[in-house]
Symmetry: C2
Subunit: 295 residues, 2 copies
């Protein structure tokens, strides 16, 4: 996936920037900031910050002012992974090829590092809002992200996932889980970028629909990779869904239909992208990458 | 503790308001909102919202516009208790006379209910800011609270608590733990109220000092009650610090010196309160209540 040059430079500096933010923003205990940085810097595809920055860029926004939102999205995503991996949740000991947070730091610190990342994400966004003297575009972007990560978004999906665990569920319920657990924050990444770039209401609605579809496409691919992916390339164990007795798209409709679904979502997203008022070359490449990735 | 009539009415409606906020703000799963409400409505002294509202009231603020900050403070406090009580942290099964969240809902849902409360606290504060069109007073109050609850505040104190667990520490380190773990959010309750009420810079600095002292006073009393308190009145087990091999003020300097310290902090806080530009009758009564409480 080739990001635009400007975004690429920003993403390249992201690890350094995490460290800077952490040292400026907090006089956090070294142990705590180590635990926060460990998970932030454990790799990852940085899809959410890239989406936010690329969409904002396409609408002509000044990317430097938007950086805090990109960071915040990655911090929220990272905290959710730390808590998801805990023994009482998915009980994963490996993520992105490295031991998970609770394996390295213990469950207590892993929970607190997650809490601290969620809190810090709100701090850095609010400081960006304050820096813009409460500009409504910045307020709305922050609101979009907070709603997506909370009890009517990502956490709602996670709870539904737990609730339906071990149950045979239909495609509607599976879509509901994934649209919330994965889709809402991906949608907020896109929509916050568009809000910060001053997109029209019509474009915002289209991007919201695209976000929903990107979320499901992402999860369809994830489910396929858990069955046929290469653990070394993925940096995590496969066959986990089977082990956890978790309902997935391949289980519901078979690998081939799932793969056909991925292609269909990709085509539908392309169609909607073509109706937008911006240059969508990068977004198409990103969707292609998400549809065909093997890690 | 007698709150002023106006604040009393607001606090009286707080349980109902939690339910309303939850139903309006989230289309959260019933199980999730139940878990969030269970801990919010498990009782508690509501000290943080009362402090915020009373201080704002003393500076002549319109309390209705400030309600979301009072809610947010209680939500943050409640989430911190849920996570603190987990088996991998303090492992408490009883809080405010009721089984703790993970006992009722399981560890996974308890962690998520905590996450959701922290997230929702930021949502309701941000919505109050947006309702005031990004008013700088509201932005600064929100910032004050977010900083206090994060990696340079409450969570920092919690990490220090874990780090020094089982160690013999001196009074400076014990003060550091408590000033962060308990003091920062109490300070933010006071200072956010003052910011929303438009207090002068001089008053803000004095209130910050008072917040620090109230935090330590609160913890001194907590430590004493763990030794000589009545479990039934407290709604939680006593002798927990001894069981957890945790350093406390009575262990460091004996019960009598600890009690003398409480009286000294009370007097010092009263002295500073007398130099403020507002009516401090209620605040004095509150500090008296905190210094002499037996629950």
């Amino acid at each position: 996936m080739k990001t635009s040059e400007q975004v690429n430079q920003i993403i390249m500096t992201i690890e350094q920037s995490f460290k800077e933010i952490m040292s400026v923003q907090t006089d956090a205990d070294r142990l705590l900031s180590d635990a926060m940085l460990y998970s932030l810097n454990a790799g990852g595809k940085r899809i959410r910050p890239i989406l936010c920055l690329e969409v904002a860029h396409a609408y002509g926004a000044d990317l430097e002012t938007i950086k805090p939102f990109a960071f915040a999205l990655e911090m929220i995503h990272t905290y959710s992974l730390i808590h998801d991996d805990l023994p009482c949740m998915d009980d994963d000991d490996l993520r992105r090829g490295k031991p998970t947070s609770h394996v390295v730091y213990g469950e207590d610190l892993a929970i607190l590092a997650g809490d601290a990342l969620l809190n810090l994400s709100a701090e850095v966004m609010l400081e960006a809002v304050m820096h813009q003297n409460g500009d409504v575009k910045f307020l709305r972007a922050m609101h979009e992200i907070l709603k997506a990560s909370g009890a009517s978004g990502m956490i709602l999906g996670q709870v539904a996932d737990i609730k339906y665990h071990d149950q045979v569920i239909n495609i509607e319920k599976l879509n509901f889980i994934n649209a919330n657990k994965t889709g809402k924050l991906l949608t907020a990444s896109i929509v916050s970028g568009a809000l910060l770039g001053g997109a029209s209401v019509a474009d915002l609605e289209k991007l919201r629909k695209i976000g929903y579809q990107v979320g499901l496409l992402f999860q369809l691919v994830d489910d396929v990779l858990d069955v046929i992916g290469n653990p070394q390339k993925l940096g995590k164990r496969t066959q986990i869904d089977e082990k956890n007795n978790k309902m997935t798209y391949p289980k519901l409709m078979g690998i081939e239909t799932t793969q056909a679904c991925i292609r269909q979502y990709r085509d539908e997203i392309f169609e909607t992208l073509d109706t937008l008022s911006i240059d969508v070359k990068f977004l198409k490449a990103l969707v292609d990458f998400l549809a065909t990735r093997d890690f």
